[in-house]
């Protein structure tokens, strides 16, 4: 089966010469939820920006469901890969929630009733339909994060890429977002420092450190590997022991 995300030997150096990625290999299959873990500066964001062609690989290849990330396919690639950025204020820039959610599918050429239907269903999936006519900046942070997820869902992506989805959320909003993510029928790649969140949502974790993949396995196995964790500046929150968390909601 063709993986949804197929990254092979990806290397990248920024124009200033700083090399961020040194040959990354990553495969994500349909329906998987994968956490991308790693310390600050590991190259996680750089990797994410390659997935939809914002950055172009210095060496190696990226393909999405078999379609290589190349200039002539960018529009289709960006439909297939939906990135939810960390700060919802960067993602929501129009006058109302409805317009913001419509922006992506409208760029794909949808109009009229079809567009309206997409917007409605995306807002429905994140439980924000009643806020459709509000200006985004009047919403709470948690609500804005959910709308940001909807702006990407409206494009019906094949893989949802989330950059630090739980950051700055209060515990209730954090849990609500987890419920929403679990309810979605979509492949998820989640960049996070929130290890309990990774354990809760993602059966599989990949650790990126120093620009290469240093571990790839079951989230519980990764989080309980003391040497691995210590070597890559990964630490569990005080009092959290993955071994004692047994049954995970699916």
């Amino acid at each position: 089966m063709t993986p949804v995300l197929d990254v092979r030997g990806l290397a990248y150096a920024y124009p200033d010469g700083h090399q961020a990625l040194f040959g990354v290999d990553l495969h994500v299959h349909r329906g998987e939820r994968v956490a991308l873990l790693g310390p600050n500066g590991a190259g996680k964001t750089t990797l994410v920006l390659h997935l939809n062609g914002i950055l172009t690989a210095g060496a190696g290849t990226v393909s999405v469901s078999g379609l290589p990330v190349e200039k002539q396919h960018l529009q289709e690639i960006r439909r297939r890969v939906g990135i939810v950025f960390q700060d919802p204020d960067d993602q929501l820039f129009l006058g109302t929630v409805r317009q913001d959610v419509a922006f992506g599918p409208a760029n794909l050429g949808l109009r009229g009733a079809e567009l309206e239907e997409r917007v409605h269903s995306a807002l429905d999936q994140v439980g924000m339909t009643e806020y459709a006519d509000r200006p985004p900046h009047h919403l709470s942070f948690g609500q804005r994060r959910r709308v940001a997820v909807a702006t990407v869902l409206a494009m019906e992506p094949e893989v949802l890429v989330l950059d630090e989805p739980s950051s700055n959320l209060d515990p209730a909003s954090r849990r609500e977002l987890a419920d929403i993510l679990r309810s979605l029928d979509v492949t998820v790649l989640m960049v996070t420092h929130d290890l309990p969140y990774a354990l809760e949502l993602c059966p599989r974790s990949v650790v990126l450190s120093g620009g290469t993949i240093v571990a790839d396995g079951g989230t519980r196995d990764v989080l309980t590997d003391r040497d691995l964790m210590a070597a890559h500046r990964l630490e569990l929150p005080f009092g959290f022991d993955p071994r004692t968390v047994d049954s995970l909601p699916t």
Binding site: F85, D90, F93, G104
Partner: protein, 244 residues
């Protein structure tokens, strides 16, 4: 939907002036300003007429006059400048309360105050009765360059974000013993504003990235399907249509 209004100058209402289409109001405003500006300063009575026209529109819009008058404060720096003119201008003079004032200076000051006040008042009335979104749509209907409308839209959207950032920055500075009023601290303030500029610039880049990620290709797409069901303030769509 009480919280649904984008900017601080807007005064929520349902009057005819509120319901008039954005592009009509925008044209009326620009036309009014051009006429005011091109009226010779010495036609004193005509300015009274202009004020009367504005007063009628304001009364019609049911925006309380005090609401607008309070916001006229923005004009103060210009008034100060106007106040200086009779003292610094040259030409024949006239004596008022023992002060030698320049006649052309007085006339210029009057012109500045009258035209400025009418202009600001008209703009405030426009802003009080038109939501930002409707202003943008009006600009679009008038076929102003698309890029210009997009930039205006983003400006309106991010004004609050940037001012909130500035406020947090000042709070952070004050918490460390900084006093923005003391000239001794102005260099710090300047550096703060500099870094605010950089931050805003970087935010601009991130917004652009996020737009590209959703397939943006340089033009704001037609979002009309997403606007069709917009019922402002819960008014039925039929009334909305009738008002257009």
């Amino acid at each position: 939907m009480g919280a649904g209004h984008g900017h601080r100058l807007y005064f929520h209402g349902h009057s005819r002036v509120h319901r008039a289409a954005g592009h009509v109001k925008l044209l009326a405003l620009v036309g009014f300003m051009l006429v005011v500006v091109s009226t010779p300063r010495a036609w004193y009575a005509v300015f009274g007429g202009y004020l009367l026209v504005l007063a009628v529109v304001i009364a019609w819009s049911r925006v309380p006059p005090t609401y607008l008058l309070k916001r006229l404060v923005i004009e103060v720096p210009f008034l100060l400048f106007a106040l200086l003119m009779p003292f610094v201008a040259t030409g024949p003079t006239v004596e008022v309360l023992g002060l030698e004032l320049s006649r052309p200076g007085l006339l210029a000051a009057w012109g500045l105050v009258a035209k400025g006040t009418l202009g600001v008042l008209a703009s405030l009335t426009f802003a009080a009765t038109t939501e930002p979104d409707e202003i943008l749509r009006g600009m679009q209907r008038l076929h102003l360059p698309d890029l210009l409308v997009q930039i205006m839209g983003l400006m309106i959207r991010y004004l609050d974000v940037v001012t909130a950032e500035l406020r947090r920055m000042l709070t952070g500075m004050r918490s460390r013993g900084f006093d923005p009023r003391s000239p001794r601290h102005w260099p710090v303030l300047a550096r703060g504003l500099g870094s605010l500029f950089i931050r805003s610039y970087e935010r601009g880049e991130r917004v652009h990235l996020a737009m590209l990620s959703r397939g943006y290709q340089g033009r704001l797409p037609d979002l009309s399907g997403a606007r069709g069901h917009e019922h402002h303030h819960g008014r039925p769509a039929a009334i909305e249509e009738a008002a257009r």
